[in-house]
Amino acid sequence: MNQLGFPILTTLIVLPLLAAIVCLYLSAHAARWLALVTTFALLALGVLLWANYQIGGAQWQYTENLANLGAFRWAMGIDGIALMLIMLTLFLMPVCIAASWSSIEHRIPEYMAAFLLMEALIIGVFAAQDIFLFYIFFEAGLIPMYLIIGIWGGNNRIYAAYKFFLYTLLGSLLMLVAMLWMVNHAGTSEIPVLMRTDFPPEAQTWLWLAFFASFAVKMPMWPVHTWLPDAHVQAPTAGSIILAGVLLKLGGYGFVRFSLPMFPEASSLLIWLVFGLSMVAVVYTSLVALVQRDMKKLIAYSSVAHMAFVTIGLFAFNRQGIEGALIVMLSHGLVSGALFLCVGVIYDRLHTREIDRYGGLANNMPIYSVLLLLFTMAAVGLPGTSGFVGEFLALIGSYAANSWVAFVATTGIILGAAYMLWLYWRVVYGTSRNADAAAMPDLNKRELASLGAIAAVVLWMGVYPESFLAPMRDDVGHLLARIERAAPAGDAQLQRGAAPAAQSPHGGSEHAPAANTPAEGGH
């Protein structure tokens, strides 16, 4: 069956589902512990999954084909990209549960059940090998998220819950029609086969647009991003973490898994659309983030800007761009999750997200300030943190594709530094403006453990990204092999220079400084 001898992917889905059902019948305290234990058990299974993943082995590993469900099959399997995203999910889930430990006060069993259900569905999205099974998991995630925002959210939660639900539903339904057409055309609903199928170019454009409608909303791309700030601001802390950390990655994953390999010609044809929207997103949402008074909203807008780096990198049609985009996805999952957690920490103490209510936290919350600084720097893209690796690679890739896009995107890094550092300055430095803010205690052990764990991974990814890139390398290669025939000509006209043979063992290092210069301008 697979290298572990049992259907581990199905286990990863079924286990949290069962725990969710049990949670509903437990007391608040028992439900918390069950959820925490389950998420840790799943993380342990995830470590097993990663440890046994054969880098350079088969493209699809841990494949399962357990049941026929009428129009589709319960077919599971992962490649390196899915593996990394599953690991991200499994890693963030215990953090989410810990973040809700005492800040959620009512209907705790239902809350924990919703999160466990969410976890099962997200893993299902990444592990599904049947296009309709993928769709079911993709769409089903709406239900728990709708409930999480609507029941445990802030004051304006109901509007936000509706907006989230209907926006994303409309996007994904068009995708379903496209899927039906594809399966009807190709005669199979297996994703690996569809990824090798050449659809007629004239149909590709329509199919691509239908998928784009869904993924652009999930991503979210400008101008369909407006659900995100509302959902983030109203969701409870853990809801924001899972939303920013994992759910936003579904869009990027969709581009990698469907849009690019299945419709290379259309991707190439419509590259202007992606680049145009991404460039607007980078600049516009960064500017919007600058003027926010609400911390969560600021981070939400910064997420839109960061996700634009993902789309730019993915549609660069080269290795650096795609690998960079994937690392940005992982890094943003960690960093924005951590930033929302940081906001949650002080929100739990003061019950406000107004930036102006805080100030001078460095005095009374030194440990918190240090960790927040690290995550701020990671969000800005300081070398040594995970943010740098991804953005740098994505910009190199985009420079090769289109130097104007790289230029505009790089201004986003400058603006990113501006709004993040300004936020940090207003919240942490200076003198205390309010007595209640000055009296807040520093992190407790639970908060320290959560933030410390994320910080460790952020540094790990920043210092030695190879651990994360290695499993994905072959899959990026497969993707490139599919899309290279359609790759549009870049405007950068990069050429291999006549470097002395002994000095430069790395091929293509000549163009790195070219993209490097504007990239470093932001730091």
Partner: protein, 477 residues
């Protein structure tokens, strides 16, 4: 001739038993209501066993007047299930106020015979007789609570509009007969094979209008909200379930068998009706405050989606319609089982949507069940309500009607709004007064079964049900 009588055995069983039961309630009075209900369920069970086409491929009776094929078998079993559940749910609902009269199960049985005739009709006149038997029983059922003016009003409205629709249908039948020279479906199809003349086109339009009234497809839906609201809740549940299945099966049979050669002519009518139903069913439901009116619009909406499968005009399309109606039947009955439990502390039925506020805290189990039905009706996976929509759209795409699938699917977002509004009211709002506890164990059991059916566990049944519907649809071609 003997064969013919064997093929209509279920109808014979139901006819004889409903006459016996009618006599019984005349002699034994209203206190025999429960006994007669159970006997009625027993009669349905007995009839279900003898439905032709379950084991073999069935056959044609009375020289084509009556068709007992696998298609009819599938639809009849659904109708019998719907009728049996409608009887059982009424028993405890009426029983509280001692206003349960023993005619109720008998009337449902008569309606069921009519539905069986509709499903098996091979001739325009069999069709008409079946439809009228169903309609007349339905008019009486709608006004079953004699003391309630709303119920009487519902019955009268239903009767007046229903009579008009019957007129349409008869006019269409006479036109088709006049221009094709036959009332047999096969004869009509032969007459249409050489091109559709003006008169035949008119006939097709009027016949479809008559049937569209029964399935409450736009623009013949006007009666639905009023009748659903006014009729006693178990009767509404019955109207929304079994007759919809029967009329939809009839629609499929008439369009595919009788009008098969004129597919291009009726397809545009069906497409218009389908899209208009999904849009109107979605938009008009948004402002509703009464749960029964809301469910009326919900059934209009769902019928629109099922019609997309009819518009496909293929075997896959017919199979998807059967599958749609099977799942729709369970979702609707499940939802109404919850609605029947909406009673205040004084035992009076409540129908306002606001009374569901905060149900998740006062009655978590009931709220969970209703939330599942709502998400399922909205077609959100992983609930089973996603699959019928999926198959319908798949059939449309396979029939080169991708645009129809795209537009239809986009309209389902409108419907999703009011379904999730119910969930919002139950889960996000502050609790209203709690409903009285129910001691209806049969209802609880049925509710549990239907909730499990629409839950993700139901996906295990998709393959068997779908292969049965494919098989059933095969007998139309």
């Amino acid at each position: 001739m003997i064969d013919s009588f064997a093929l209509i055995l279920p109808e014979e069983i139901l006819t004889v038993s409903s006459i016996i039961l009618l006599l019984m309630c005349a002699w034994m009075g209203d206190k025999s209501g429960r006994l007669i209900t159970w006997l009625g369920v027993g009669a349905l069970l007995l009839a279900a066993i003898w439905v032709p086409g379950i084991s073999g491929s069935g056959g044609i009776a009375f020289d084509g007047l009556f068709i007992g094929d696998r298609f009819a078998a599938f639809a009849k079993i659904l109708v019998y299930i719907g009728a049996a559940v409608a009887m059982l749910m009424a028993m405890n609902w009426f029983g509280r106020d001692k206003d349960f009269r023993a005619e109720y199960p008998v009337l449902v049985l008569f309606a069921t015979i009519g539905m069986g005739m509709m499903i098996s009709a091979g001739d325009l006149l069999t069709l008409y007789v079946g439809l009228e038997l169903l309609s007349l029983s339905s008019y009486v059922l709608a006004s079953f609570q004699r003391t309630d003016t709303r119920s009487a009003e519902a019955g009268l409205k239903y009767f007046v509009l229903g009579a008009l629709a019957s007129g349409f249908l008869l006019y269409g039948i006479s036109l088709l007969y006049g221009f094709t020279g036959s009332t047999l479906f096969s004869g009509v199809a032969q007459g249409l094979a050489d091109g559709v003349s003006q008169g035949e086109l008119f006939g097709i339009v009027f016949v479809l209008a008559g049937i569209a009234f029964k399935i409450s497809a736009v623009p013949f839906h006007m009666w639905t909200p009023d009748v659903y609201e006014g009729a006693p809740s178990p009767v509404t549940a019955f109207f929304a379930s079994a007759p919809k299945v029967a009329a939809m099966a009839l629609m499929v049979r008439v369009t595919f068998e009788a009008m098969g050669p004129a597919t291009d002519a009726w397809r545009q009518i069906i497409i218009f009706s389908a899209l208009a139903s999904t849009i109107l069913g979605g938009v008009a439901a948004i402002g509703q405050r009464n749960i029964k009116r809301l469910l009326a619009y919900s059934s209009i909406n769902n019928v629109g989606f099922a019609l997309i499968g009819v518009a496909a005009g293929t075997r896959e399309g017919a199979a998807s319609v059967l599958f749609y109606m099977a799942v729709y039947l369970v979702m609707t009955l499940g939802t109404f089982l919850v609605v029947l439990r909406m009673r205040g502390e004084d035992g009076k039925p409540i129908e306002s949507i606001e009374s569901l506020s905060g149900l998740s805290r006062t009655r978590p189990g009931l709220a969970l069940a209703l939330a599942m039905f709502m998400f399922s009706l909205a077609g959100i996976p992983p609930l089973l309500g996603f699959m019928p929509k999926f198959f319908v759209f798949e059939a449309a795409v396979a029939a080169d009607l991708t645009w129809l699938a795209a537009v239809g699917i986009a309209t389902s977002v409108i419907g999703a709004y009011y379904y999730i509004k119910i969930v919002k009211i139950m889960y996000f709002d502050e609790p209203a007064a709690a409903f009285a506890k129910s001691d209806d164990h049969i209802g609880t059991g049925l509710l549990l079964v239907s909730a499990l059916f629409v839950s993700p566990l139901g996906y295990g049944l998709v393959e068997p049900i779908m292969s049965l519907s494919r098989n059933a649809a095969g007998s139309l071609f």
